[in-house]
Symmetry: C2
Subunit: 239 residues, 2 copies
């Protein structure tokens, strides 16, 4: 077997959902562990997109989407990255909805009990994203999620990046697809809600191990009281 591929997850989606929004890991450190992935920024200020080893922030302001590169010293409260290596590559030659494409992707999996990295570079007839709005700590994510601005774009070229999580890890991460989008011209991006792809190249990468980190020096994390059942439901609702 070639070198083991580690999914690096900083903090858990569950902790984020519970309102722990303060950034505690620098983007510079994050990028040492992978070149593809996603997350959010300090104060959940928009969506983090990691593509080809660079980190971008997509955020909405006054009805417009803005995408900027993120400096190495900015901090994230939650992120997941992987040194992406395509194991299966296929060309999507005709129009499909996100659900159809996701089913096609899953048909190439060896079972459903390992994490996977996902990269879809192509042209999209339609792309529908949402953006977490910068929020005060302790506001529950499920609360925040009910009024997240959504944005749509037609006929746009770009890349979807993300992680597919086995159901057993729901709570730690979100079961199934967690995908973010960034357009080629850096004018549009966010957390993917749904889309229609015209055509593109889909890469599915293997994940052999989970390297799960915790904000061990964040006392707010250490002493947070999580209602785990509620947390799992919130993730299902919000993601």
């Amino acid at each position: 077997m070639s070198e083991a591929i580690k999914l690096f997850q900083y903090n858990t989606l569950g902790a984020l959902m519970a309102g722990l929004y303060g950034g505690t890991l620098t983007v510079g450190e994050l990028l040492e562990h992978g070149d593809l992935g996603l997350g959010t920024l300090d104060s959940i200020d928009g969506e983090l997109i990691v593509l080809d080893g660079k980190a971008y922030q997509a955020k909405g302001s006054e009805g417009k989407v803005e995408v900027v590169e993120v400096a190495a010293n900015e901090k994230v409260p939650y992120a997941a990255v992987v040194p992406h290596q395509a194991e299966v590559i296929f060309r999507q030659r005709f129009e499909m909805t996100d659900k159809e494409l996701e089913e096609r992707i899953e048909s190439y999996y060896d079972g459903v009990n390992l994490f996977r990295s996902i990269k879809i570079k192509g042209h999209f007839k339609h792309m529908h994203v949402r953006m977490i709005p910068k929020s005060a700590p302790d506001t529950k994510f499920a609360e925040v999620a009910t009024h997240q601005p959504e944005y749509e774009a037609d006929n746009i070229s770009g890349t979807i990046v993300g992680i597919w999580t086995p159901e057993m890890f729901h709570g730690v991460s979100v079961a199934g697809y967690h995908l973010h989008f960034i357009s080629d011209d850096l004018s549009f991006g966010g957390h993917v809600m749904d889309f229609i792809i015209d055509n593109g190249i889909v890469e599915v990468g293997p994940v052999d191990q989970l390297d799960q980190r915790f904000p061990v020096q964040d006392r707010q994390y250490l002493f947070a009281k999580f209602n785990v059942d509620e947390m799992r439901e919130d993730i299902t609702k919000a993601e």
Copy 2:
């Protein structure tokens, strides 16, 4: 901060519960990742105890407990080990039940959102353990668990080793305490059900990261269908 301490978990308790009992990791490899921990053996043949860098198997046969050292080439389907470093050490000077001692241990935690390693060396007025009986693959663990032989010993010296898991990771591991016992004279051991301690030294170790491995080359694991809700319930019942 000193070097990060990683909990190495091979496979998940959930997968074990679902009946994947075939060993796929050698004990030699396991011991490279930690000197304290627990697990089970190929065909869930008894209980694995890792203490001071050595691996032992406790199993019941014809109403008697047998404890033997495990050879480096034997294989395990599930195990969790950590390079244990005591962070909090306390002397338990008077008699306590397991529940009372567990509460005392938790009073020393910095919050409940990190894993921890546990080591309790002492003299026990009473020790009640159970042993998984060697089982055919695919027999559900919850099924196996209903007829696990139990054993009791009085006035016995030995060590409890184990892991404490945050609730968010229930399913991946078992929330709360997962403890195995081994007597000083290697005559008794198993999966801890309950006990009364006379006196002893309790060590609680920090865990900064989870290094989660999967049996990536085990096709049975890859294609297993898990009912995750049922799995979480089974773990609660069985552990």
